[in-house]
Every structure is written in structure tokens, then in C-alpha cells.
């Protein structure tokens, strides 16, 4: 094989979007070794723009829009005004979803709040486990988004843009940083459904690579049964036979490559190798029986049953194996009616497992370089919708933990009724800038040309990492 072939093959194996400099650098590395090395992306941000604090992200995505008023944002004044008309000074001219044209009445917090930890952070008492890790959390109480319906709000939260077609943040991160894992994708998505609200659907578009190459798209692992489709051998085919078949395919592909010199063949061989490894790594990943009983109890998991708790444990196992970005969607928070009871139900599904994940990561020494994010696409109105709450975009809450974030701090605030974020307002794009910053990426320097623009996760409007919560 001559130099050119080795060079292109190397660039396909290693770089993906390698520039001339990278190709030259790799040329120095010499001839490619044994072809059983699977494809691994090293990312375009190499070296990092600055020293990273986090290596990976676990995003606990509370889909449907959790009420900040029954989770992280305590508003005693709202309780005082319970049942009275919502002051018009708050709502005049504001976009409103289903409550449009209806009488707007204050609905006081439906659950009490308490102070937790040494930091004394105020969290809804219905979430005592999350409270127990309060000293690890940076709670942002001044989030703001632009979109009042689920799908566009998810699109904005994931891609920084309301229009579908842009890369999602997990794709950006794996594109920027590459993968640390030979036998699993770099960006994995898990979903579960709760019982406390309307289960709004989530479109696979939410983890699309958009204008980035398709290999950066999130791979949805099914939360029950085989996490990856077609991961089991056909009946009657043993693992040794599958190995033999993959080897025979590789041998024939290599013979073909000698004649036609197609760099794509090396990628094909590597991807079959990766697939073969996934056939054992994926079932092994999903085998929660391998966890000690004490860990299962910590999360409150019975087995791999598709629950949020089981997905949290899977997320830790994915992070452990080097997966860069894990999104755990819990479709449960669209509490238009009966928010009191719905929070009871959803807290039971979410509280213990969320705290368990943070605790588990911490005792394994992984929390320091794993960023955990918790929150939804928007919040909910201080006004009641019957005894529920409508969608709300002018103020809501989020928390971050680990990965270079200060613990036990609160950032920003809404007004006294929890309507508008008024202090240290954090737009979704500021959160995006923060995530990238923690990973060692300057959000203004990670872009791809698309439709004549240098497209960035944070878009063209001013975005700033939240310095105050960085450790």
C-alpha cells in the first residue's frame, strides 16, 4: 500500500473532518496497523480551547415542563395570593398557551418547601433525596426560553434554534470532542414515560445531528429489552460464527480494497468490528443484574424495566464506559391538571434516582468530570389551569451538578410570584455556552458552515457562560 492510501484511510479512521494539518500530522504516524481497530473520532476541538473541567455530560431531561413552583423555586407570596386574580402587571402582553382568553388566577405552591444541606438550599419538600445532595447542586432559578409549545421548545433547548435541522447539543459535543469509547456510540439517548401527566411525544429529531455528519447523531437506546436494535445474532448463529462471518467479510473487503483503493472500505471494516463489539458490550451494558444489590437499592431499581430509575443507572454505566453525552428523557411533566398529585407521582419516579446518580458518580470519583444537568424545556405558570399549571417560558429553574460546577449555590431569581426571571437571567443559549465552556470549548469557536452561515450551538445572539457557578 502506498502513502496516499494509508493517509486517507487514516484520516477516515481517525479524524472524520481532518484538515490538511491533521492529515500531515497523521502522515508522520506512519502506516496503519491491524484493521481490527474500530472507528474512533477524536473531535475537531483538539487541543481544547481551554482546560476542560468536565469530560462528559448526563442530561436528565424532565420533558413536558416541570413546574418550578413545586420543585426548585419557592414563592410564599404566591401562596398568599392563592385564589386571587393574577395581577395584570405580570401578564399583560405575554404569550400564553392554553390559558389564552381565560380568567387568570394565582395558584399557590401545592407542596411545602424546606431547606437542605449545609448550604440551606430551598427545594420542594416532596424531593427529599434531591435535597440530600443539595450541597452538590448549582440551582439556576432564572432560566428563560423563547418557545411556549413542547416540540419547538425542545428543539430550541437541544439545538439552540427553533427551526428543525440544526445539530443537537450532544452531536455538537461529540463532534467537538470525539469519542472515548470503542464499542458504544458517543451520544446515547434513553427515554422513559411517567404516570403523572400527559406523555407528550418526543421526536427523534431532538437528537439529530442536523447539518453535522450523521455519525454524530444520538443513538436512542431502548430502555426495555435490547437497548440497540438488531444487536442479537440470528437464531442458530453462535458468537464464534458471527466472529467468523465478520472476519470473512473483512478479509473479502480488504481483497477488494487492494483492487479499488476505496478509503470508505476501511471505515466499513471498522464499523463491522464496532458492531461486533457492540453485540457483546450492549447486552453487557444493559445487564443491571451485574450491579450489587446495594447499588440497585440506592437507585430504587428492580431491573432493567424502562423506568427513569433504571435509565439513570444505565446512564452511569454508559458514562463509565466513556460515552460522551447521555440524555435521559423522562416524559412526565406536562401537568396541566392536578399538579399537586402529579408532582407526588412524578417525584416518586424521579427524586430517588436523580439523587442516587449524583451520589453514585461522586463515590466513584466520576462526579468531578461528569456534568449532570436536570430540568425541562420550560416551566409552568404561577396561574392555575384548574388545579394544574400551563406552559411558562419567562422564568423556570434548572440545576447542574459536578463537572466543574460549584455545589450548594443558587443563581438568579424570578419575581415574587415566579413569573419573570428578573435577576441574573439565564437564557437557554447561556446554558449552552456554560456546558461547552465546562467541556473546554469556546462556544464562539465551534461552528460548521451551513446554508451560508457559520452555525453555532449558541446562535448569533450574545451568549455567556455563567461564570458565577463555575468552581
Amino acid at each position: 500500500m502506498d502513502a496516499f492510501d494509508a493517509l486517507t484511510r487514516r484520516s477516515f479512521l481517525g479524524g472524520g473532518v481532518a484538515g490538511i494539518g491533521a492529515i500531515a500530522a497523521r502522515q508522520l504516524l506512519g502506516h496503519l496497523g491491524a484493521p481490527r481497530e474500530p472507528a474512533r473520532d477524536r473531535g475537531v476541538v483538539s487541543p481544547r480551547h481551554h482546560a476542560p473541567r468536565a469530560k462528559r455530560v448526563i442530561h436528565l431531561y424532565m420533558a413536558g415542563g416541570p413546574s418550578h413552583l413545586e420543585t426548585l423555586d419557592h414563592k410564599p407570596k404566591l401562596r398568599e395570593l392563592h385564589g386571587q386574580p393574577m395581577p395584570e402587571s405580570f401578564t399583560r402582553g405575554q404569550p400564553i398557551a392554553q390559558l389564552q382568553g381565560q380568567r387568570l388566577t394565582c395558584l399557590g405552591p401545592q407542596h411545602p418547601f424546606a431547606r437542605f444541606g449545609e448550604s440551606g438550599q430551598e427545594i420542594c419538600a416532596r424531593f427529599p433525596h434531591i435535597g440530600s445532595v443539595a450541597d452538590e447542586l448549582a440551582i439556576i432559578r432564572s432560566m428563560k426560553t423563547d418557545q411556549i409549545n413542547h416540540d419547538p421548545a425542545h428543539t430550541l433547548f437541544n439545538t439552540g434554534n427553533t427551526n428543525p435541522g440544526r445539530p443537537s447539543m450532544g452531536s455538537w459535543v461529540t463532534y467537538g470532542l470525539g469519542s472515548e469509547c470503542d464499542d458504544l456510540p458517543g451520544f446515547v439517548v434513553l427515554t422513559s414515560v411517567g404516570k403523572g401527566g400527559q406523555a407528550q411525544p418526543i421526536a427523534a429529531r431532538q437528537w439529530s445531528a442536523g447539518s453535522l455528519p450523521s455519525r454524530f447523531q444520538g443513538v436512542e437506546f431502548r430502555s426495555k429489552g435490547d437497548p440497540v436494535l438488531y444487536v442479537q445474532n440470528p437464531a442458530g448463529v453462535s458468537r464464534a460464527q458471527q466472529r467468523g462471518a465478520v472476519d470473512a467479510i473483512a478479509a473479502l473487503n480488504r481483497l477488494h480494497d487492494e483492487r479499488v483503493h476505496d478509503p470508505e472500505i476501511a471505515t466499513r471494516i471498522a464499523q463491522f468490528e464496532m458492531a461486533f463489539r457492540m453485540q457483546s458490550s450492549v447486552p453487557e451494558l444493559a445487564d443491571l443484574g451485574a450491579e450489587p444489590q446495594e447499588v440497585l437499592d440506592l437507585y430504587g431499581v428492580k431491573g432493567q424495566d424502562g423506568s427513569f430509575a433504571s435509565n439513570c443507572l444505565l446512564a452511569r454505566r454508559l458514562a463509565e464506559r466513556g460515552v460522551r453525552f447521555v440524555q435521559v428523557y423522562h416524559r412526565a411533566w406536562d401537568h396541566h391538571g392536578g399538579v399537586k398529585r402529579a408532582i407526588d407521582i412524578t417525584a416518586d419516579e424521579v427524586d430517588r434516582a436523580t439523587a442516587a446518580l449524583i451520589t453514585d458518580l461522586k463515590r466513584r470519583g466520576m462526579l468531578e468530570d461528569t456534568l449532570v444537568m436536570w430540568g425541562g424545556e420550560f416551566g409552568r405558570t404561577p396561574m392555575g389551569q384548574g388545579n394544574g399549571r400551563d406552559h411558562h417560558i419567562r422564568g423556570f429553574s434548572y440545576f447542574l451538578a459536578g463537572g466543574g460546577v460549584k455545589g450548594g449555590v443558587s443563581h438568579g431569581a424570578t419575581d415574587e410570584l415566579g413569573y419573570h426571571a428578573v435577576e441574573d437571567v439565564v437564557h437557554v443559549r447561556d446554558l449552552h455556552a456554560t456546558i461547552l465552556h465546562l467541556l473546554g470549548i469556546d462556544h464562539e469557536r465551534l461552528s460548521v458552515p451551513f446554508q451560508g452561515l457559520d452555525v453555532r450551538l449558541t446562535g448569533v445572539e450574545r451568549a455567556r457562560a455563567i461564570r458565577q457557578i463555575l468552581a
Binding site: P164, V193, P213, S214, G225, A245, A248, E264, A275
Partner: protein, 608 residues
């Protein structure tokens, strides 16, 4: 537009209807006797449709979710006391404004209302209650649950039908309407037999004194209700249904009628409520020039003419560029869907211009353009990269060789089915639902759906006919970059991922195709089965080296299945096509193991 056959069918049905009509119009002594008895009875007790009391409503009752509010029993199920007080206020509020036959609005999300009214009946009778609801509905008559439907919809007249038989006396009608989100409301009307006033008036006239017209009117009305003719009326109804079915099956010619075009304004800042923007008329973006000045408002036909007028080169450029992509793997201009400032300039602008000009001058003859492309020296080049001059044109920017790229998702599957003899090439007809992993639709909602796999020939139809569930397309299709169909896709991605390898190795349709291909090799391959199998897939003979790899693969598989007949049987029974009974299962399984390899080769997946 009926066909001749349909016209004949209609004529036959019309004849039958006429025959029944004749029976229905003919007076007989038996009918006359029955009429007299009926008249006597009716005079003694004239018909009295039920009297409905005023609607009363209780609510709102709210809960955590739509299903919950629909199912939860909030109390009225166990009996209604219209004078009940809650916190010193009446529970039931009268709504005299809720007239029958109209939709009425309720307010709330995840909320239910109960509606109650009395029904007073003087004479036993049957009738129909019609309901509409947004969203779900339950109906109790005298405490008995008669209708229970949890649906999400907007309210419309007559969405639900409830037939009732009411005895004389007072009855209680209770309706529960529950709403998830969005609009909320209900509709009600009752349908009971009532006698036309003119017939009623005639009954008071003694039979002997009735005028001819009145006599005929009463007799005709009686025939329309008498049990003696019930079977004929039923027959006529069925005939009319059959006639309607035939008429419905006509091919329909759809035409729209031109109306005065709406005034179109620029929506300032995209605000559709703002009607103060500048009034605009039909035209083309100014970057493309302008429509010819016709002295009148331009129409769609003007736009169509402008698109193809000979001095407008853009349409032809875009079209030949896409055609070029079909044969050379990429466009002369790489951005197929954007010839504007955000697109990529053509690598061979002169060539693009030459082809576009030729296309227009040749009368937009697609066939001639295809012929020109595929007979060109550029098309007939090898796709091999020159080993001697590797650094020459590494990205094939100059079309110095033919393109090689992975087949589209549909072609990957269809090719495997075709070489194995499974492919069903029948055109037209409904979409097919092939094998698909269970539970794929679990995160679909509004409404929830279940995947019902097809049987038989439908399983092996061309992939073009595979059912598309938007966003939830077949996972094997998705793995090979088929689009989710949320937006128009001119050019698909061509990725190379481990998921593709998993599909090729493990998807049941490909395992079944491998087995069918192995069956063919065993039957048709003669003494050169390996050579036959390889060349039927790749359209070339294998090299000695390739044969050696295949021989080794075959030997490995043979050794394995010689020792395990159950495993062999398990492999060859994947898929619904029965395994041939006359072939040795061990041998067939081993050959299937070879076919799987050949179907998974890079060369198999690649157009080159």
C-alpha cells in the same frame, strides 16, 4: 365518471328500487284494514314526543390527566340531586340557554363536567339520542351507563348515536364530558317519531269525507310506518345503500372554481394579525428578474410559463444538475437544493451551462439528456482510484473517475431480495408492513398506534412500498439514511455506521434473503456453487483469493452445523417463507452462512 360496467350496475339497482317502490305505493285490502285500525288507535292517543327538561351542569371536576378525569367517578354517577348544595352553593346550575342541535362550549383542561336533564315520556316509544363531545363522553340513562368513549377530538354534531326505548314516565339523562386540553364542549339532540301536522289534521276528518288528496296523504303516510311493509322498506334502504356505494366508487373529476383572489399583504415582522403591510401581487423573487408584464394580475400558468421560458436558464440548470447526480454521485454544483448565494458554485460551470442549454434546445427531452450523460466518456470511466497517481484528484472534484457510493436504503434491501428471488415486483396497491422489531412505536402518542405486520407476499414487496411512519420509520431504513420525511429531502446523507452492520448481519429480512439465496445456490449453482453465489450478487467472478476466503467460511459453517442440527433448523426457519423440505437443513444453514457474508460485502452495498 361511471364506467360502462358501473352504469349497468346502477340501472339494475334502479330497476329493483322501482319494483319495491311499486309495492310500497300499492294499496291492498290488508293494508287498508291495518290503516283503519291504526287511525283509530292514533286518534285515541296521538303521538307525544318526549319532553326534555332544562340542562343542569355540575363541575368543573379536575384531575391529573385526561384518562384520569374521564374515568374518575366524581359523584353524580351514584345519583343526581339537583338541589344538592356544596359550600352553601348549588352544585347543579341550570343552563336554559343550551338549545338542542347546537354545540355548546365548556372551559377547562383535564376537567370534566356532568350534564343532567329529565325526559318525560307520555307514550312508550323508541328514538335516537345524538351526541357530540370534546373530548370524551359517558352517558347514563336512568343510572345505567349506556355510552363510554374516551376519545380526543373536536366537537361536531352527531358523533355518537344512542338508540333508546322509553317507557311512559320520567327518565333521567346524565352525560359526562371530559377534556384533556384545548377546546371543550358538547352537542345534543333527540330524534323521536312525530306525525306531520297535516296528517294529524286529516285524521280528524272521517274517512268517508276526506278529499282525494287527503285520503292519499294519510294512506301514503301509513304505508311509510306500517309494520306490514317493514321488510320492503328495509329492502329499499339496502338497495339505496348499494347504489350509493356504486356512486362512491366512480372516479371523481375534481375542479375548483375561480374566485376573486384574496388581497395579500406583507406581514410586518411575520405578524399575521397585522393588516397594515404593503399590498403585494404575484411575482417572482426579484433576484430572478421579473415575470413578463402582462398588464394584468399574474397567474400560476404565467409562473409555469416563466419557469420554462427559453431565456430562463435556472430551471434547466437545477434539473440537469440533479440528473447528473443520479449518474455521477454528486451534482456539478454540489448543493442540489440551493443555487443561490448560500449554495456551492459548480465545479464545471461551462458543462452545466452546456447541458442546461442543450436540454432546453432539445425540447426538455429527459430521455435524450440521460442518453447524452450515460454515453459520455466521463460516465464510462472506471471508478477505481489510480494506484499510479494517487494524489491526482483525490476528491474526484474533476470527475476523473466514476463515483462510488453506498446504495440507498431501499436498494440495499431490494437488491438482497432480488438476488435471492424473494422480491415481489408487483406495482401499485397499498403499503407493506414488513418485519419490524416489537415496541418501536412505544413513544408515539396522540393517538397511540400498534404495528400490525403483514403476511405472505407483502413481506417481500419492493421497499418503495414499505409503510412510512413519519419520524418512526423502519429502523433498517433509518440506519441506511432514509429520511424521516418531516421535510423535503433532495439529497440523502450517506453514512457508514455500526448500525448498518448490525442490520446486515442480524435483520430477519436479510437472514431470510441469505437463506433464499443459499437455496438458489444449492439448486442452480451446479458444481460451482461458491462461484455462482458470488457472481450472482456481484456480477463478476471471484478471484482465487476471494474463493479461498469463501471456502474457509463454508467449511467453518459446515463443521458447526454438522454438530448441531437444532441450530441449523433455527437459522433456516427465520422469516415466513418456509424452508424447502428437500434440502438438508445442515447444508442449507452452512450455505446461508456464506450468503450472509456475500450480502454484507462493501462491494455489494456500493454502486461503483
Amino acid at each position: 365518471m361511471p364506467t360502462a360496467e358501473q352504469e349497468q350496475q346502477l340501472a339494475a339497482i334502479d330497476d329493483e328500487i322501482a319494483a319495491v317502490d311499486r309495492v310500497l305505493a300499492t294499496e291492498t285490502p290488508a293494508l287498508h284494514a291495518a290503516q283503519l285500525a291504526w287511525e283509530q288507535q292514533t286518534r285515541a292517543a296521538p303521538p307525544a314526543p318526549p319532553a326534555f327538561g332544562v340542562w343542569r351542569a355540575a363541575g368543573p371536576f379536575t384531575g391529573g390527566g385526561f384518562a384520569e378525569v374521564h374515568k374518575t367517578e366524581f359523584g353524580p354517577e351514584r345519583g343526581v340531586d339537583v338541589d344538592e348544595q356544596v359550600d352553601g352553593k348549588p352544585r347543579w346550575i341550570a343552563h336554559p340557554e343550551w338549545a338542542d342541535g347546537k354545540a355548546h362550549k365548556l372551559v377547562g383542561g383535564n376537567t370534566a363536567y356532568y350534564l343532567h336533564r329529565t325526559v318525560d315520556v307520555a307514550r312508550a316509544q323508541t328514538g335516537t339520542l345524538w351526541f357530540g363531545s370534546d373530548d370524551s363522553i359517558r352517558v347514563w340513562v336512568d343510572g345505567e351507563l349506556r355510552l363510554d368513549k374516551q376519545v380526543s377530538r373536536g366537537v361536531a354534531p352527531d358523533q355518537e348515536r344512542l338508540d333508546v326505548a322509553l317507557e311512559p314516565g320520567r327518565h333521567e339523562l346524565l352525560v359526562k364530558i371530559a377534556n384533556g386540553s384545548g377546546g371543550f364542549g358538547f352537542f345534543f339532540r333527540g330524534e323521536f317519531a312525530r306525525m306531520p301536522d297535516d296528517v294529524l289534521a286529516q285524521l280528524d276528518v272521517p274517512v268517508a269525507q276526506r278529499a282525494e288528496a287527503g285520503r292519499a296523504r294519510v294512506a301514503a303516510y301509513h304505508r311509510s310506518i306500517t309494520p306490514l311493509l317493514a321488510s320492503q322498506r328495509k329492502q329499499k334502504e339496502q338497495l339505496q345503500q348499494r347504489r350509493a356505494q356504486v356512486v362512491d366508487s366512480f372516479a371523481v373529476c375534481i375542479a375548483t372554481v375561480a374566485t376573486e383572489p384574496a388581497v395579500t399583504r406583507v406581514l410586518r415582522r411575520g405578524d399575521w394579525m397585522d393588516d397594515g403591510g404593503e399590498v403585494v401581487s404575484p411575482g417572482v423573487p426579484s433576484a430572478f428578474g421579473a415575470l413578463p408584464d402582462l398588464g394584468r394580475r399574474a397567474t400560476r400558468l404565467d409562473l409555469a410559463r416563466w419557469l420554462v421560458q427559453p431565456d430562463n436558464p435556472r430551471t434547466a440548470r437545477v434539473f440537469v444538475n440533479r440528473l447528473w447526480m443520479r449518474f455521477f454521485g454528486r451534482g456539478i454544483a454540489r448543493s442540489l437544493d440551493d443555487f443561490g448565494e448560500q449554495g456551492v458554485p459548480p465545479t464545471h460551470a461551462g458543462l452545466l451551462e452546456f447541458l442546461a442549454r442543450g436540454f432546453v434546445d432539445g425540447g426538455w427531452d429527459v430521455r435524450a439528456m440521460v442518453r447524452a450523460m450515460v454515453t459520455s466518456a466521463t460516465y464510462r470511466q472506471s471508478s477505481r482510484c489510480s494506484a499510479e497517481r494517487p494524489s491526482f484528484d483525490p476528491y474526484n472534484a474533476r470527475f476523473s473517475r466514476q463515483a462510488r457510493y453506498r446504495h440507498d436504503a431501499e436498494v440495499v434491501r431490494d437488491q438482497a431480495l432480488a438476488v435471492s428471488g424473494l422480491l415481489v415486483t408487483e406495482l401499485f396497491g397499498r403499503s407493506a408492513k414488513p418485519y419490524q422489531p416489537a415496541g418501536l412505536y412505544q413513544h408515539l402518542n396522540f393517538p397511540k398506534r400498534r404495528y400490525q405486520q403483514d403476511q405472505g407476499e407483502m413481506l417481500w414487496r419492493m421497499s418503495l412500498y414499505t409503510h412510512w411512519q413519519r419520524q418512526y420509520l423502519h429502523p433498517a431504513m433509518a440506519a441506511f439514511d432514509a429520511p424521516s420525511r418531516e421535510e423535503c429531502t433532495v439529497e440523502r446523507a450517506r453514512s457508514n455506521t455500526p448500525l448498518q452492520a448490525l442490520v446486515l448481519l442480524n435483520d430477519p429480512i436479510l437472514v431470510e434473503a441469505a437463506r433464499a439465496l443459499a437455496t438458489r445456490a444449492m439448486r442452480e449453482g451446479g458444481d460451482e456453487r461458491l462461484r455462482w453465489l458470488f457472481s450472482v450478487v456481484l456480477q463478476r467472478a471471484p478471484s482465487a483469493g476471494e474463493l479461498a476466503v469463501l471456502r474457509e467460511q463454508l467449511a467453518r459453517e459446515q463443521a458447526r452445523y454438522a454438530a448441531d442440527l437444532d441450530a441449523a433448523r433455527a437459522l433456516i426457519t427465520i422469516g415466513e417463507r418456509p424452508a424447502p423440505a428437500d434440502l438438508d437443513p445442515r447444508a442449507l444453514a452452512a450455505w446461508t452462512g456464506v450468503a450472509r457474508v456475500v450480502l454484507s460485502l462493501h462491494e455489494t452495498l456500493t454502486r461503483s
